[in-house]
Symmetry: C2
Subunit: 218 residues, 2 copies
DNA sequence: ATTAATATTTAGACAAATCTAAATATTTGT
DNA sequence: ACAAATATTTAGATTTGTCTAAATATTAAT
């Protein structure tokens, strides 16, 4: 599998939202930052190789085999992201570009050893689940912190309100993007929450919780 | 710099034995497993890019800039080899192929963080020195263990006698390829040695020492 | 149901990296 | 110093992945 072929497979996978939906030539072209005519050529090639089902004017989706390739790429990408953050102290938002390169390294032994070194992580630094060696993995959804039930654990991935006061609050309470948050308790009276972040217990109001996005794997 | 260009630069570097000697088209072709005509084309390109000095029929060597590129590649290759052995428990002889891929990853931050994670190693698992960030590095030489002075430390990289009894002796004494050996003392009378391997002190005869290759950085 | 707008494909060209075969230069042996 | 052997380059072709422009198919709108 060529570097370029792998990139197209990943594009089809991601545009299909992990559901392997049929995606259009133009969608792929936009994602890959190429022209539709280039996509048509590549779709024919991927079809011949048995990794994609392509029908003229109808769009393309992955075959069973293509899906396996895509999941392996996603697995490698996310494992490397964990490595960069956990072992090399990269920041949350610095890992993507390098992981795009590292995901193409071909060595099953390398991938599995890395998985082991990292303690078989379930999610990457963006809270997205990491496919297992045999390609199974959970779906992730993004929800506001005040909408999840008690006992839920997830990764903090964004804010709804990005005003200075709110961001200052988060900073003061040591809540940062990429942190894992566990909901310990919810106060019925005012909807305030008791949560755990980086091993510390804190209490936050419903308003705060209504402005924090969590990514949770179901 | 293209993947292919980088491979040619490394080939020129290695054929020049780290001395940046002029190397011939045919030598490069053999090393790269391509045809001489392909090499000619690439040499012209590398010359135009300012990384090599190529003169028709005369051969090629690297420019100052090309040498820098080569040393960066060697640095990355060897750091990844250390990573694979130290962190992922790869064996001595399993690392090369994967490192060939990893050395092309472009991220200065990644390289330097890796260097730090590994504790700024001086040599790779084959005993070859690792260039520093700014391109300085020591040369390594291969010598028989009985020929080095007391106090010398090096990496065990091979055997002269590969008979079963000798290999069995090494195994019994826990001496393996890739191990670091330090010469503590030499007995003048019979030339026997007192050495340290993996934290253990052992004594070996001159005959044993005369059949073990050590790689030492001067 | 036709036309207009949009999406997709085809045809032909290009750059990178390679190859083969032929031409040319250099080196070696006498 | 000259012929033979060897090394190197040139010319022209091929593959991969891309592009533009033109042709064709699909979809949407009246």
């Amino acid at each position: 599998m060529t570097l370029s072929e792998e990139d197209y497979i990943k594009a089809i996978y991601h545009l299909g939202k992990g559901e392997n939906n049929i995606v259009s030539t133009n969608e792929v072209a936009e994602q890959m930052k190429t022209k539709p005519s280039s996509v048509t050529d590549m779709m024919k090639k991927l079809s011949e190789k048995g990794v994609a089902n392509y029908r003229k004017y109808k769009g393309v989706c992955l075959t069973e085999h293509g899906l396996k390739v895509a999941l392996t790429l996603v697995r490698k990408h996310r494992l490397w992201e964990v490595f960069l953050v956990e072992k090399l102290n990269f920041a949350w938002d610095e890992v993507h570009e390098v992981a795009e390169q590292l995901e193409h390294i071909k060595s099953e032994k390398l991938t599995d050893s890395l998985d082991k070194l990292l303690g078989f992580p379930q999610v990457d630094p963006h809270g997205d689940p990491i496919p297992s060696k045999n390609g199974e993995f959970k779906k992730a959804v993004k929800k506001l912190l005040n909408e999840v039930p008690v006992g839920t654990s997830g990764t903090c991935v964004g804010v709804k309100d990005s005003s200075a006061p709110f961001l200052k609050f988060l900073d003061k309470n040591r809540i940062a993007l990429g942190d894992t948050i566990l909901v310990l308790e919810k106060e019925e009276f005012d909807g305030s929450l008791h949560i755990q972040v980086k091993g510390k217990d804190i209490r936050i109001s419903d308003q705060i919780a209504a402005n924090l996005y969590l990514k949770i794997t179901e």
